[in-house]
């Protein structure tokens, strides 16, 4: 399922990042950062919702739009019942669509929004996502104050909220095409090695995207996966080469390895993860590079592990998905 779009443009983006991300190398690309994980709220869940709410407010302000100018918001996050998205969007009275595909959420939002705009039914859509290190730890793993040792392959859920405004009004950056991912299972069961879980999904989506559009990897200035981390990145390069005979190593990087300073921020282990990890990198650094025309064609491949602790305890495999969006400077 690969679509090309004719009239979908990126109007603006906004990023709000937490304390660990603010200490990383991309700090200057964030619109707002907060120093304390509670973000001035009573709980982790509310702290996450607040970061997303801030991101949407900043997006409206930056693009000089009123609430009524937005036709719809498409938002998703990691929390059960996508609470962060609901509790933050509720403040704006936008028509709301909630989505879930774990850390692949941001591209799913862009794909849905772009398809709606391309159908000429709507003019302006916000795609948003958030995650919070502590709320994710609490929901998926152990209480946050519990110091369970983790292997080197584990990733670190990024904290923050990020949103992108898509519109049919021409701008410098175009949403050129997209590929909807398939659910992939290659027998991985380790929730502390999500890179290995998600790499096959990324490979499947990248290979189908290139085949459908009859392109080679060098068509793009940059191919970016979501949050595979140090080891997942190596696995993807190797797997794409052996299984699909595609070599992406020349212009490929992974957002999970870019968000933090991996040498000095040892607590992040193999790198960043969570839906906002790729969104912070893409809507911060990459959007900036596209605007400055430092890169002109970028393929964003957000990767999500459709991880359910219940199913893992029942000894089922962890499923994964990856969605791809191509952005081009015009």
């Amino acid at each position: 399922m690969t679509y090309k779009y004719d009239n979908v443009y990126v109007e603006n983006t906004s990023t709000v990042a937490g304390p660990y991300e603010a200490k990383g190398p991309l700090y200057k690309y964030f619109d707002k950062t907060f120093d304390e994980l509670y973000n001035g709220e009573k709980s982790w869940e509310l702290a996450e919702a607040k970061s997303l709410e801030d991101s949407i407010s900043i997006l409206l302000k930056k693009s000089k739009h009123k609430k009524t100018d937005i036709d719809c918001i498409i938002s998703g996050d990691l929390m059960n019942q996508i609470t962060s998205s609901c509790y933050s969007s509720q403040k704006f009275d936008f028509p709301f669509l909630g989505i879930y595909s774990a850390c692949a959420t941001s591209c799913e939002g862009i794909i849905l929004g772009s398809t709606m705009i391309d159908s000429k039914k709507v003019n302006r859509v916000i795609a948003a996502t958030s995650s919070h290190n502590m709320s994710s730890e609490k929901q998926f793993r152990n209480p946050t104050e519990y110091g369970a040792p983790k292997p080197k392959t584990a990733t670190f859920t990024a904290t923050g909220g990020a949103s992108i405004l898509l519109s049919n009004v021409k701008s410098d950056i175009k949403v050129e095409s997209s590929t909807i991912g398939r659910i992939i299972d290659l027998g991985q069961t380790d929730p502390l090695h999500m890179g290995a879980v998600m790499a096959p999904a990324a490979a499947d989506t990248i290979s189908r995207h290139l085949k459908d559009l009859n392109r080679t990897p060098d068509y793009y200035d940059l191919i970016l996966t979501g949050d595979l981390g140090t080891y997942g990145k190596e696995i993807l390069i190797d797997y794409l080469k052996t299984e699909f005979n595609i070599d992406i190593s020349a212009n490929y990087n992974d957002c999970g390895t870019m968000l933090y300073d991996l040498d000095n921020q040892k607590e992040v282990l193999a790198g960043g993860s969570g839906p906002v990890c790729s969104a912070l990198v893409n809507y911060g650094l990459i959007y900036n590079k596209l605007k400055k025309k430092e890169v002109k064609k970028v393929l964003l491949v957000t990767t999500g592990a459709l991880f359910s602790p219940t199913m893992v305890y029942q000894h089922e495999n962890i499923l994964s998905i990856a969605h791809a969006v191509s952005l081009e400077v015009i």
Binding site: N142, E145, A148, Q188
Partner: protein
């Protein structure tokens, strides 16, 4: 690709965990906790002039209190991450698991939060502790006659 072939690729890129180093750190720090416990027992039994059995109960309560306090103060998790089983296996690990769960679910209230979740990690230890105590008690009765 077959799942088996993919597993080979994953294994090829798997980092080696520093098991020997982890075991050494756990051995030293766990041993240190043991030494502190022993010193505490000696101190309590001589200072309060009580039996070693009573003094070791005092010692356990002290270790539980210290581990819980340090967890509440917010830095014990970093020690546990570093020392690993050196702090998890002694009673400090048990106290840490309960306190951390208690802190985490305070927001959901005393019943649905703390009450329902405080044994989230420690529940298994208690259940299987009781079961194995019963089992070994039975073995002792059969073999040694009580």
């Amino acid at each position: 690709m077959e799942k088996k072939q993919y597993k080979k690729i994953v294994d090829k890129h798997k980092p080696t965990e520093t098991r020997a180093q982890n075991a050494f750190i756990a051995f030293v720090t766990g041993g240190l906790v043991g030494v502190i416990g022993q010193l505490m027992t000696e101190f309590y039994s001589s200072y309060f002039e009580i039996s070693t059995k009573d003094a070791s109960t005092f010692m356990l309560v002290t270790l539980i209190f210290v581990a819980s306090l340090l967890t509440a103060l917010g830095f014990f998790d970093k020690w546990v991450t570093f020392c690993k089983c050196g702090l998890i296996i002694p009673i400090t690990g048990f106290a840490h698991s309960m306190t951390s769960a208690g802190i985490e679910y305070k927001k959901e209230g005393p019943i649905y939060g703390v009450g329902s979740n405080i044994f989230k990690l420690a529940g298994s230890v208690i259940l299987y502790g009781v079961v194995s105590a019963w089992f070994f008690g039975l073995l002792r009765l059969i073999i040694m006659g009580g």
